[in-house]
Symmetry: C2
Subunit: 334 residues, 2 copies
Amino acid sequence: MRTGQRRTTLADVAAAAGVSTALVSIVMRDAPGASPANRARVLAAAERLGYRPDRRARLLRSDRSRLLGVVFGVQDAFHGDVVTGLYDAAGRAGYELTLSAFTPGRDEHRAIGSLLQDRCEALILLSHSESVRELADLAARMPTVVLMRPIRAPAVDVIRTDDRRGLHQAVDHLVELGHRRIAHIDGARALSSAARRRGYIEAMRRHGLEAEIRVLPGGPRDDDGTAAARDLLTDPPTAVTVFNDRSAAGVLDTLRRSGLDVPGDISVVGYDDSSIARLRHVWLTTVAQDAGALTDLAVQRAIDRIEGRPVQGREVVVPPHLVVRGTTGAPRRP
Amino acid sequence: MRTGQRRTTLADVAAAAGVSTALVSIVMRDAPGASPANRARVLAAAERLGYRPDRRARLLRSDRSRLLGVVFGVQDAFHGDVVTGLYDAAGRAGYELTLSAFTPGRDEHRAIGSLLQDRCEALILLSHSESVRELADLAARMPTVVLMRPIRAPAVDVIRTDDRRGLHQAVDHLVELGHRRIAHIDGARALSSAARRRGYIEAMRRHGLEAEIRVLPGGPRDDDGTAAARDLLTDPPTAVTVFNDRSAAGVLDTLRRSGLDVPGDISVVGYDDSSIARLRHVWLTTVAQDAGALTDLAVQRAIDRIEGRPVQGREVVVPPHLVVRGTTGAPRRP
DNA sequence: GCACAAACCTAGAACGTTCTAAGCCGCCGA
DNA sequence: TCGGCGGCTTAGAACGTTCTAGGTTTGTGC
C-alpha cells in the first residue's frame, strides 16, 4: 500500500451501503437500533471494502477507553507468564491491554511515559526500578497497580507473592523429610531477596532450628550459586534453599561435580519454577508463584479503581506453592 | 483519579498560559514558530498542569503516524531480544513501536487484528503459525515484514537467519578440530528444522564425509534430546550437532550420565545461544542468530516500504555466527 | 512616514469516530 | 380524523489534536 492511499472509513462504508455514517457506526458496534436488512447491507459493504474501525478515532470520541496499560520487561521469562494472564483476565472483564516494554536500551520511565499518552484508564506495572516517588506521582493521576514488588507508596496498589511464605513452605517440606541442617543461599540486592531470607529464618525458628540457621552470600545468577556452593562444601548441610532457580542450577552443578549426590547427600530447593527448573535433567524442587492469581487480582483491582468501587487494603498478597520434583528427599544421616 | 475527572488538554494549557491552542501545539511539538518567552510560559504551564499530549487525537489529525506494529510471542525468550532490537532501531529512525503479543490464550490472528485498528504504517511479525494466505492478504493492505520464518507469499517481506549456513559453520568448526564422525539430531516439525538438517547434510558432503552422514530423529525439547542421545550411545560418533540448545541440554546430560566426557569423548553444538547455553556449567558451543542485524533490517525494510523507496529482493538472509564455548574440542581418536 | 518583510500568533477546519436530539413513518386507540 | 407511540434513521456536534491561511506586530530601508 502506498502512503497516498487513504484507509477506508465509516463514510466510505456508509456511501457504499447508501446509509448514514451514524447507522454504520451502530452496526459496527453491534448496538441496537438498526433494521436487520440495513444491518446486513452495511456488514456486506464493510466486508467488501475491508473496513477496519479506527481505534484512535473511536477512543477519542467516547469517554471510556476500556484500555489497561501494562509495563513489562521483555527479557524476563516470568513476565511472559504474567502478560499471558493479564490478557486473559482483561479479556474476560471486557477490557483491552496496551503493552509497553522496557529493555536494556529503554528504561521503565520511558516505557511508562509512552503509555501515558495512550489514554488507558489504569496502569499495571511489572516494575523493578521505577522510584517510589515517581510511582506515587503516577498513582496520584490514575489508578496504578504494581505487581510483584513490595512497595509502600500512597495510592499505589500492590499485588505480590508472599515470598516469606514461599520459604516457609520450602523449609517445612525439608523438615518433614527429616532435615535439620538447612542452609540458605541469599539473593544479595535482588528485589525479593530480603523477604525470602526473612522467611527462611522465621521458618527455622518456628521449627526450633535457630542454632542451625546459616545464610550464605549469593546472588541471582548461576555463577553466584556456583560460588556459594563452594563455600557450602567446607561443611555441607543436608539441605539448602536457594534464592532462585538460576542460582540453584549453579549450586546443583557444583555439588554434583564435587561428588555429592542430590538428593541423596543434599537436597536443593529453588525459587520461581522457571524453565530451567523444568528441564528433565535438572528437575528442581522449587517454589512457584501463582501467575494466574496475581494477574486476576491485578486486573480486578485496576477495574475496581476505574469504576470507583471501594476496595480494602492497598496490598494483596498471594500465596505461592511448592513444586516438588527430583532434588529433595530424606537425608541419609539426619 | 475518579472517572469523572477530565484529563488536561491543550485547551487547558492554552488558557493557563494565556495563548491559543495552536501555539501550545507548536511548543509541545517543538516546532519552529514560537517566541522564547511564550515557549517558556507554555512549558511551565504544561508542567504545572501535568499535561500529556493525547497520542490518539494527535494521530487522528496528522496523516503520518510513524508507528510500527509488532506482533510477538510473549513466551519465547528470543522474541525478547528481537523486541529489544526493534525498539532501538525504530527509535533511531524516529518511529515508535506498538506491541501486540500472542499467548497460549490469544492467537496470532487476534494479535494482528488488534494491531490493524491502531493506525500503524507497517507490520513486523514474529509469526509462527499465521497462514501464508492470511499473510498475503495482510501484505496487500499494508507493508508487512515477517521475521525468522522462511515464507514465500506475494508482497510479504522476509528477514531471516540463514539456518543452513549456521549448520555449515557448526560442521566446519568440528571438522577443523579433526572430527569426521559427526551426527545431527533433528528438530522434527519445528520451524527451521528442515533448513538446519539440509545445512548439516550439505556441509558433510562438502567435506567429503557423505558416508558419515547420520541424522537422528529428535525435537525441540530437552527430553527429545535425551531420547536421541540414548540412540546415539549404541555407536557414539565423536561429535553431534543438535537442532537447538534446549534439546542439546538433554543430550549433554545423557552423555555425561552415561560416563562420556564432553568434549573429551564427544563434542556437542547447539543452536540459538539461549540462556541455557550461557549457564556456566552448561557453557554450550552454539550458533547465534544476530538479533541486531535482523531487527535493523526489518525496521529498515518496513520504513522503505512506507516511504515508497525501491527495495531489492523480497527476502533478506542474515548470516548467524558460531559461539565457541566449552562443549567442543579435538576428538581423542579421530 | 511609508512600504515591505519577517516573526509571531490565532481562528477555524479537519481527522474518523460516537453521541444526542430530533425527524420520519406507519399503526393503534379513541 | 387525530394524537401519540415505537421503531428506524439521520444531521450535526463533540472529542483533542494538527494544519492552513490569514492576521498582527515589529523592524528595516528608503
